[in-house]
Symmetry: C2
Subunit: 465 residues, 2 copies
Amino acid sequence: MLDKVKKTIKRYDLVEVEDRIVVAVSGGPDSIVLLHALYSLREEFNLQLFVAHLNHNFRGIDAQMDAQYVANFCEAMNVICFVKSMDVPKYAKEQGLSSEEAGRVLRYKFFQEVVEKVGANKIAVAHNQNDQAETVLMRLLRGTGIQGLTAIHHGRGQIIRPLLDISRKEIEEYCLLHNLSPRIDETNLEPIYHRNKIRLELIPYIEEHYNPNIIESLAKTAEILKKDNEFIEIVGKDAYKQVMLQAREGCLEFSMEGINKLHIALQSRIFRLATEALVGKLEALEYKHMQSIMELIQKSETGKKILLPMGIIVKTSYNKVIFTTQEQEEETTFYYPLRENGHTKIEEVQGVIITKVIERDNIEAISRDKYIKYFDYDKIKQTLNVRNRKDGDRFWPLGLVGSKKLKDFFIDYKIEREKRNQIPLICDGEEIMWVVGFRISEKYKVTDETNKILSIQYNPPSDVE
Amino acid sequence: MLDKVKKTIKRYDLVEVEDRIVVAVSGGPDSIVLLHALYSLREEFNLQLFVAHLNHNFRGIDAQMDAQYVANFCEAMNVICFVKSMDVPKYAKEQGLSSEEAGRVLRYKFFQEVVEKVGANKIAVAHNQNDQAETVLMRLLRGTGIQGLTAIHHGRGQIIRPLLDISRKEIEEYCLLHNLSPRIDETNLEPIYHRNKIRLELIPYIEEHYNPNIIESLAKTAEILKKDNEFIEIVGKDAYKQVMLQAREGCLEFSMEGINKLHIALQSRIFRLATEALVGKLEALEYKHMQSIMELIQKSETGKKILLPMGIIVKTSYNKVIFTTQEQEEETTFYYPLRENGHTKIEEVQGVIITKVIERDNIEAISRDKYIKYFDYDKIKQTLNVRNRKDGDRFWPLGLVGSKKLKDFFIDYKIEREKRNQIPLICDGEEIMWVVGFRISEKYKVTDETNKILSIQYNPPSDVE
């Protein structure tokens, strides 16, 4: 087994001469064998070993005996051992994590502390080939994509896993051969947890009926998929940068044509990276969401929008694909002064305002378009501008007897809260002249006395609502 | 269900207007639903449908009833139906194929016949989402890599699979809804065959205990992996061409540096393509073989060689990686005339011959190197040349009383059959002067009477034997 471990170490460059390694030791067979194996190699590589053991406080007196066992084992080898006790159940409750996740978080936090204390450069953890296979199978059954299937890495950052090519059977044999009697975690023997159920029921069932070497097969598959995925991610990151047009806080713009030219495998990586940039999580989108983004882009229609989990919004605008969030859209504020005759683009909503002052007699036809309205030019007293809503806005809708809160107007029109910030308001100073797309103000309407007319047209980001 | 089929057809461009489609119909639920669905779409797409039914002669009277059922079903729809009976069991036996494989071969051959007869451009087959999931699971359990996991394609070449996103459950519901009563293949209900065992035992077990949507999950995973693999294969094909230095029949040479610079995911694709070019099969190499090729290349040592399944040989020579076959190496023949003073490269074995004529008195030191030998120049009467063995060669080894068959000489020296063709023979016309690396000829040895000496040095492709 030691030869196999050395081969793994060499193949993946896990250990270098003079490394200072913190070994994570629970006291179970895997971690005791890991410590023993690294200890056997310490002279060859001139290693400095340290041990870190965390008492998770899940199993009372048993856990204390684990700690004692690890301490004694280290003492016999003359290896410094750091033991810490943390209330994982309490932390899990506080943070709303599963006990597994909470354990992992606190464990790695503790390892990091030890690393800093002793000036180590690596952390060795004891995952083996069975863990690898179980993870792949577990994720496959859940239906994750390639990222999920690629499972555990031999080495990543400071973390190294020298036993990842060693099966549980080989670990047990090594224990017998070297007279090691590690502690057994009884909870691992109960098929209650999902992973334990796979380990204790599904894998033995498959071994018996389908493939006695399923552990090795799955580990190999994971290895191949890991490499493939790694490659696509590398190419994907380049592509992501290439098709990106602009990145603002909470808003990423990509070239639609650029994305459309890429292979779907790369498109999905770009969407994942965009998701990560927006909400900090690569995995926020499922397969079906990826598909709907791809369909949106394939159609190349402007002004389309889809709402995805975690408030992610993907929309198209002419030649752009825009990834943003609901939160971002709600926080949108904009203000642009308008000339009396001119085009003004509202970047935030990708719409355009066209203004024109016309003598009354020159008006040819009155448009009924909800995006073209006419106002009495001489009633405008202050700066003509376009902005979005703010607290306290009031508005006098055409035909009503007086003004009302803009908020109530939105409610009357059943305009969803997250859309309200996107609606342009044409204003005379602070006074709202037109809630674009909905209603103009009674105060600015064209009357028999009107001489000059201000015509305002709004071009929304698309002809499609 | 019909909407879903249309979506699949659209997404994967399976059907175009005016297509002429041969529908493969066994008479079971899948193929009857496929025919019924395409028939429902025939006007929308202006399709011409034809049916092909093969009687495999596995199930006697039942099979004849299947054929009758299909014929009647088609008649009711007024669709032309081609029925053929072939002795699949006999063919399987003759060709040494499993009955599943034999059935597939004959079936597609028959479909092809029908395609040509009616001038069709597509063949529709009835694989569904469950088949997809079962295939993935089956291959995963066997331990195939990503290519194995990517499973069935929606459309490839002439073949289209419009039902690939439809589950078996949806097919059964469709049958009920449209009052279809397809034939049931009883052999599909027996968990004897590997696939049936997965369908009838493993999947229901997983559905009950782990994931009720396992079929959909696996199908999605297959879809994602397929796209990823497709992308890597496209990039891999480009890389293959870029790192290739030379391609001769049965022998491919690549730049070692070129391959070493590539990501492992691409390296493995290149090895697969080389394998396909050599032995006609992409899948000849397993994971461990790929790994040993990668290790060979990583070390960048010249003159190394590994033997792989199907007689594939991978060897390194200076800056080259050479893929060839044992057969090819055995068939190697070469012949080069040698100048009296000069360098001659033997391309076939990547070795170099250096010749020099020296006055006896000018010889300084006699080398004991097995690759540097001295000959009596004046005994050479014909053309000096280097070649490899041919039938009938004889040789008089230094120190022996007479000549013997070269073949017997090789046997005495325990030189393996496949290596014999690689050994350079320095000759005077047809007469062998030196079996390079082994023994010179008694006839050409330097004696007291020698005046001029011909020194010959051989540089093998590496200093490593």
